[in-house]
């Protein structure tokens, strides 16, 4: 049976205008997320992960601008382009259909409101009946790995990791169908991180929640994601199942990322990837990874590679294939 994607991003490009320069943060990205999928987006800082995710919610604001593309969402009333939604519909869409845990959300909580009131506000505003709110607050806090005693706390009374978990609870407050987690567990120790992520996996199983998981921690992604997108300089350069990507990485950048996973062995250096990503305000001729790529050859400088299926739904954008 042909399955229709829950969210379909078509040829999206986003620019930021800063200091008279135009930064091409996202260039011509296509992406599909099916119901119940766990899709990961990995890549270096500045590669455009957060910007891409924000288009899913039509949240790009000045100095940002969506140049072209569509974000089609399949809701109860059929397919709609999120980028053309009326403001009232968008408000509903944002917490109830798709919600997002923002990077650095740790400091986005309202400092003068108790945690329970922040959760309550969001729930009431999106149609939860008053009598059900209390039970729901407890449920969401537990899901996020917090004890219900934090309800009465103000944000400054919580540790960094606890605040991050409050944001996870907030994002789940209205039972969204798709959850976008942008570096949502980066401030948490591995034990708590694993507790929370397995709970999210369970939600996926029980309620067909779909998840977009954005992270720079590629080793984490192996344990949870089904499909992995590797982003570089505003483009998806490789897309494959977790098994394919870890077993047979094709793009030289993906290879470099996998080689930079730190290990516990004493003495092994923490390796970065040599060089820096290209300046996105300049026109890039050829492959954006060329000046850092150990396998670069003449064609790479002259011609920009396209993302293509090299078999078995393994996509890569590199002239070697």
């Amino acid at each position: 049976m042909m399955s229709f994607p829950l969210l379909e991003v078509k040829d999206i490009s986003v620019e930021y205008g800063v200091d008279g320069k135009t930064i091409k943060a996202v260039s011509h990205v296509n992406l599909e997320i099916n119901k119940g999928d766990i899709v990961a987006i990995v890549g270096e800082s500045g590669s455009g992960k957060s910007t891409l995710a924000m288009t899913f919610l039509n949240l790009i604001e000045k100095p940002g601008r969506i140049r072209n593309g569509k974000v089609n969402y399949r809701g109860a009333k059929g397919v709609v382009d999120v980028l053309r939604m009326r403001p009232v519909d968008l408000m509903r869409y944002r917490w109830k259909e798709v919600s997002m845990i923002f990077q650095s959300a740790m400091n986005s909580l309202n400092p003068v409101m108790r945690i329970e009131d922040q959760l309550k506000d969001v729930m009431i505003e999106h149609g939860t009946v008053e009598s059900a709110v209390d039970a729901k607050i407890d449920e969401k806090l537990k899901l996020a790995g917090l004890t219900t005693s934090v309800k009465k706390s103000y944000p400054h009374e919580l540790s960094g990791g606890m605040k991050q978990r409050v944001n996870i609870a907030l994002a789940l407050a209205c039972d969204p169908k798709l959850l976008i987690a942008d570096e949502a567990t980066t401030a948490l120790d591995v034990v708590v991180q694993r507790q929370i992520l397995t709970r999210l996996l369970k939600l996926k199983q029980d309620l067909s929640l779909s998840l977009v998981f954005i992270t720079h921690d590629i080793s984490l992604v192996a344990n949870i994601a089904e499909i992995i997108n590797v982003m570089y300089a505003g483009k998806i350069v490789e897309r494959a199942s977790a098994k394919q990507l870890f077993g047979n990485p094709l793009h030289p950048y993906t290879e470099a990322l996998l080689n930079s996973i730190p290990t516990l062995e004493k003495g092994t250096a923490i390796k970065g990837i040599k060089g820096t990503p290209p300046d996105l305000s300049k026109e890039i001729k050829g492959c954006p990874f060329a000046d850092r790529c150990p396998k670069m050859y003449d064609r790479c400088l002259a011609e920009s590679p396209e993302l293509k299926n090299v078999g078995d739904n393994h996509y890569v954008s590199c002239h070697l294939y």
Binding site: Q103, V150, E157, G160, G161, A187, S219, N223, I261, L264
Partner: protein, 325 residues
């Protein structure tokens, strides 16, 4: 080896007013009789569960909060006894690097202004020209080159890695002896991380700084640290040389921490059946039992009867657990 920081039975409780009319209160013991010694020219790693008190200990060591009990010596002098002038000197000699490079810098203040602030406070005798030179030199130490191009930038115009370098520059410009780095790389990706960690290690190797490196990530911590202490619910439960802690963890909590490090193997998908276990109770109410008793797979009756002693069970390797009595 000389110690630079010595904490003695440091205890910090937070009392929060709860219910309506604020009549009921609840108490969290964020630090519970903490004894640690940090040596000169050492990077001392502090790891532990989220909410276990790591940041609170960092703040206490810099006298940025008050204690309920205990004392903290800096070069042998209790910092909580310091009077005005001495406290001012102490502030110059100690600095903090914060976790979140995205929010620890004021977005409307230029890089020059934020990095030069400590000099303006502690070195009023310096001329503007000397300040500029020092700022440029410091930005270069942390790899922001060419430095003059960064002076008039705002944090929003920089990447996360660059901002974290600014945070480090601001922390080292007044030439402190001791730095608390609170999760300095947790928001950064692997390629930026390696550079920042190397800068921190070089502060120790080349400039002889001492540091407390706070992290929830044991992999990163062992890379930079000479010794590691493991915290759980406000208590230090294990401490030793970093290679030893990794190779030979003794406390059941440390073992779980090491076993939970994600292995990048797509054939070992996490199992949703393992959820069962209870969520941590994040508060320490000062009970007279092992702080890990509610979660420990090896718990025995005696664990609930008293606190296990913190003792040296192998050379320089300390643990608080009855299994090693």
């Amino acid at each position: 080896m000389n110690s630079i920081i010595e904490t003695n039975q440091v205890t910090k409780e937070f009392v929060t007013k709860r219910g309506f009319l604020k009549r009921t209160t609840s108490t969290t013991r964020a630090l519970d009789q903490v004894n640690v010694t940090i040596n000169e020219n050492e990077i001392f790693g502090l790891i532990g569960e989220s909410g276990s008190g790591k940041t609170t200990l960092g703040l206490a060591i810099l006298r940025l909060i008050d204690l309920n009990q205990g004392k903290i010596n800096f070069f042998g002098e209790n910092i909580y006894d310091l009077k005005k002038r001495q406290l001012f000197n102490f502030r110059e000699k100690t600095q903090m690097i914060f976790q979140d490079p995205y929010s620890s810098l004021n977005p409307v203040v230029t890089i020059y202004k934020s990095v030069s602030t400590p000099l303006k406070v502690f070195h009023k005798e310096m001329s503007e020209e000397q300040v500029v030179d020092k700022v440029i030199q410091t930005l270069e130490t942390v790899g922001l080159t060419p430095a003059d191009q960064f002076l008039n930038k705002f944090p929003t115009q920089m990447s996360g890695g660059q901002r974290q370098r600014v945070g480090i520059a601001r922390a080292v410009i007044s030439d402190p002896d001791f730095i608390v780095a609170d999760e300095p790389v947790s928001m950064l990706d692997v390629s930026l991380r390696a550079d920042i960690l190397n800068i921190l290690v070089n502060l120790k190797l080349k400039l002889n700084k001492s540091m407390m490196f706070i992290s929830h990530d044991i992999t990163v911590t062992q890379y930079v640290s000479d010794r590691i202490a493991v915290m759980h619910l406000g208590q230090i439960v294990e401490m030793g040389e970093s290679g030893e802690i990794i190779k030979n963890p003794l406390h059941p909590y440390t073992k779980t921490l090491i076993d939970s490090i994600p292995v990048p193997d797509p054939n070992k998908k996490w199992n949703t059946d393992e959820i069962g276990g209870q969520i941590s109770e994040y508060t320490n109410e000062g009970k007279n039992e092992c702080s890990y008793a509610n979660k420990c797979p090896f718990v025995k009756n005696v664990c609930r009867e008293r606190r296990p002693d913190f003792k040296e069970v192998e050379k320089n390797h300390f643990v608080a657990c009855v299994l090693y009595d």
